[in-house]
């Protein structure tokens, strides 16, 4: 069996890539997808730790993370469509009405 350390290292790499994506990309859709990547990476770490401890609690937490991520995507994409409808743009730079 592959050591849980390998899975945790892979989860760390994916998490960092997702975080850099959130910082760098300007398209709100792509930013959302990078957030999803980060959540998935954390799930991978949860499941690796669940296997490490021989305990199912980590898997249950990963399950709850999936549920919350699904709810977050639904609301986030609805906000995105309503912003797009008002401002004709999906860029995070154009939603700046609250600035100043």
């Amino acid at each position: 069996m592959i050591s849980p350390a390998n899975y945790v290292a892979l989860a760390a790499i994916l998490f960092v890539i997702g975080g850099v994506g959130v910082l760098v990309r300007r398209n709100a859709l792509v930013v959302f997808m990078c957030v999803e990547l980060m959540l998935n990476a954390v799930n991978l770490a949860f499941i690796a730790f669940a296997r490490l401890h021989g305990d199912l609690n980590g898997q249950v937490i990963a399950f709850f993370v999936m549920v919350v991520a699904a709810a977050e995507v639904v609301v986030g994409l609805a906000i995105l469509t309503s912003i797009f409808r008002a401002r004709k743009s999906a860029s995070v730079d154009d939603a700046n009405l609250l600035k100043y």
């Binding site: 390998n6 790499i13 890539i17 021989g54 898997q59 709850f64």
Partner: protein, 268 residues
Amino acid sequence: MAHHLMLAGSAASNTEVVTWWVLAIVAVGAALGMILTRRAVHCAILLAVVMLILAGMYAMQGAPFLAFVQVIVYTGAVLMLFLFVMMIVGITASDSIVETIKGQRLFAGLAGIAMLVLLILVVGHATIGAAAPSGLRNSATNVQGLARLVFTTYVFPFEVTSALLITAALGAMVLAHRERTSPRPTQRMLSRRRVASGRPTPLPGPGTYAQHNAVDMPALLPDGTQSGLSVSGVLTTQDLQARRYGARAITGETAGANHADDNHEEDR
């Protein structure tokens, strides 16, 4: 680090190690492609690759239930939702290359590398032992063990989750709902508007009397000129966008299609 990790798993059967490394490298490559590719659609496809690989890794770690949930919820539902929204927002929407804050990309990359080094050091220094024997974590099967936990220890969070999902569904409906500000036009109003517009007849169909009948092919008028009215405005906009971003025209690469594109631009 990688060599050390490889040694840790060397007691395992060889095929599993090879499979894991191939999957891990493909996942990291797809994730890197996600933040490097400029088109949102390519980004979604690469994210699907990462998610499917993660589902496989869940299965390899004795979590078959979560592997299936991952495929159904993430690649099935969430990514489809992303693609639907992409359809509304515009499938050709790509990122602008302009940096709003000077040096943002550079500093984001540096911060990412710093965080990666930090996390890898933490993982490397922690004593993460071998996995516990699989008999410990599963009472009978994975699904039964999870069900026991969800419906006993975690029953209250589970119920709260249902409230969260209902709230999210309601919120999405409220946010995506568009209030009608003017009365709905009746059939009489519509026909009056049509006559007043100066063109009571339907618009010409694309491709009439032309070389072929593709949707992006303008119809030929009796005097041999092309009618720009016969091609949907959406296609023209897409062509212009593709041209502006230097990408290949969406509607095709044939000489005829390109000629048709030129015609659209003259019409505008």
